[in-house]
Amino acid sequence: MSNAVEITPELIAEHGLKPDEYARILELTGRVPTITELGIYSAMWNEHCSYKSSKKWLRTLPTKGERVLVGPGENAGVVDIGDGDVVVFKMESHNHPSYISPVQGAATGVGGILRDVFTMGARPIAALNALRFGAPDHEKTRHIVSGVVEGVGSYGNSFGVPTVGGEVNFDPSYNGNCLVNAFAAGLAKADGIFLSEAKGVGLPIVYLGSKTGRDGIHGATMASAEFDDDSEEKRPTVQIGDPFAEKLLLEACLELMKTGAVIAIQDMGAAGLTCSAVEMGAKGNLGVELNLDMVPCREEGMTAYEMMLSESQERMLMVLDPSKQAEAEAVFEKWDLSFAVVGKTTDDLRFRVFRHGEEMANLPIKELGDEAPEYDRPSIPTPNRTPIATHDVPAPKDIGATLIDMIGSHQLSSRRWVWEQYDQLIQGNTKQGPGGDAAVVRVDGNEKKGLTFAVDVTPRYCVADPIEGGKQAVAECWRNLTATGSLPLAATDNLNFGNPEKPDIMGQLVGCIEGIGEACLALDFPIVSGNVSLYNETNGEGILPTPAIGGVGLLEDINKSMSISFKQAGEAIIVIGKTEGHLGCSTYLRDVLGRNEGTPPTVDLAAEKAHGAFVRDAIQAGRLTATHDVSDGGLLVALAKMAIAGQIGAHITPNADVPLQGWAFGEDQARYIVTLPAQAADAFLADAKAAGVPASQIGQTAQGDLKLEGSAPISLASLTQAYEGWFPTYMAAPDINE
């Protein structure tokens, strides 16, 4: 394909460019763009790279804090954890590719986020994954679950990072559009952070990693006959991950960074070479000139267009100090990676691309990159719903049977089937992997210090009330980190929504961001990185708004971290926070009674903060033996999970002031269940009172079953069987491709 292709309106549309955007292109270019240029614009100005629909709102998020060294805008956020160490983390989606090809889509999603982290100079130490699938009985769901989990596992396991937590949810709104949000965190030295901003004119731009093929080049453009006279076979647009190559790339990059040769570095993610080169130049206020003849290619006859848009994985671009080039080459060779000098920085603020001596593109770099278009899309706030009173929701006939049904359901059952396919232990620092409120990982090389990680969001709340839902996502994540005893430091977000061109969807986005911002501010939990994924729709139906929040906490003494399991019989069980029995939008209402109604619980951020601080202090003072936050399913579900985890039962007296269904399954926020030695209970309750934190003892742990005063005992064995049983039973059927 030569550069002489005629630019037609169809072609422009196929590149996802709107007429007004094309008008702007004509103005910026000063002429009709070449096909290569059109491809470059489409890549840079699409939602994924430019954040054109969300930028305005993202700017409202709190991103600063005492410990924040690098906030949003780089490959990942950087947060100070003391002793000269920093934690580097981010979350990113790979939704669409994972639906098309679950194994490869999920794998390359994990590969991409790991690359974001080590591009900054950090060694990845933990991975998490937030997964949303369609209804379990939808014909494609099982195949997608099976493939996504395999993909997530295969990449992280081979690369050598422990996968220590995540979420799995099912909802029909994801039937045609699963969500795969991958989180990764790494460890670096505060003085060893690398950024993407190019510095210095005339310096070599070096390509490192796997060779470039025709992977992932836009489906729409590839299908177009003008571009593809090779008619034998429609080329798949799926990228294949090569975790082995990525592991080599990691080691090579970290070794190279130590030599002092790296001036700027940027991984090639979405829109590969285009995006990485433009970002490096634009951020550094420099021009970039690329000679594509030097790019290591896997396939023959690749055109400039294809090379600029290829999404081949496991590749990096860097600006190197020319005086250290020989040293750098020795590292590349040791790790057997392809490398080449493919261009240089210039002072003309132009992005120029050459192929076979011909100039294929010559564009203004700032307008492509950090000055890309931005929209203020119309939005309609989500209408208020009618609240539901607790006593208007029927009580279960048999509370024990209902609990067993709930805990054995697709929503609340154990995800062991998933995480047993993930290496949770590698690197030897995992104190608590999946199965608790947050993962607990020791800071490598440090005797006591630990980091905690969690990802959370409750989409059914977000759809009912985006602002409260946004707040709740942050609060739950913060609470999960707190429940292990850690101090939440900062967060990353992954905003998954439908089509932003629809005002109601835009209203969800705006509302959720508002709630997230408010909660982050109130809880001192700044957003330091993130990712937006829009147009998650099938047949015109958007997914539930799903703004996933990933959080990181710090434990000064990892030996004091808490887990959720009951530790021994005879201990006091205390609930922190008020139980009012809020059942609107609850799991009980939706999944047991089949009613998708009501308003979500309100999030009282001051109460969250106070209750969290009280629990954290108690943990750090060594007063508690177990802690668990109360979320989906309410108090009784949380108690059951603590009992199952410890294989110890309890005697509980429900609070008679609240209808039983509300007491058991209400989802009031800002609550924790804690256990402690019985003789310490009174002093603890007195301290809570003094601190203005609602706390009440609801019973004690006991050998045997889970007993609620006034109901038949609920068998611990049955609970365990139901809880562990759902996933393996569901996945036992064969995995069919189509």
């Binding site: 992977d215 798949p236 799926v238 081949s312 189509e738």
Partner: protein
């Protein structure tokens, strides 16, 4: 009846395994090998004796279980085929 099925990656799809193998052969000093692509191979025993029916069954098996048709092609060879 016996059948042999080959599943191969489509053109242009990255083959990390083939790449690693070719590289290893190079390191072992076995020159003259320019490229290796790895696929899967299946030997199937069928009780079906009707060739047309056997072919249809195998086709379904390939699409459902043996090949990921987004990235792979497959070919079926029944006993007696060339």
């Amino acid at each position: 009846m016996k059948a042999r099925i080959k599943v191969t990656l489509k053109n242009g799809v990255l083959d990390p395994q083939g790449k690693a193998i070719a590289h290893s052969l190079d390191q072992l000093g076995m020159s003259g090998i320019d490229d290796v692509r790895q696929g899967k191979y299946f030997e199937v025993d069928l009780s079906e004796t009707d060739r047309t029916k056997a072919q249809a069954t195998l086709d379904e098996v390939c699409r459902k279980l043996l090949a990921n048709t987004v990235i792979e092609n497959y070919t079926i060879e029944l006993d007696g085929d060339a």
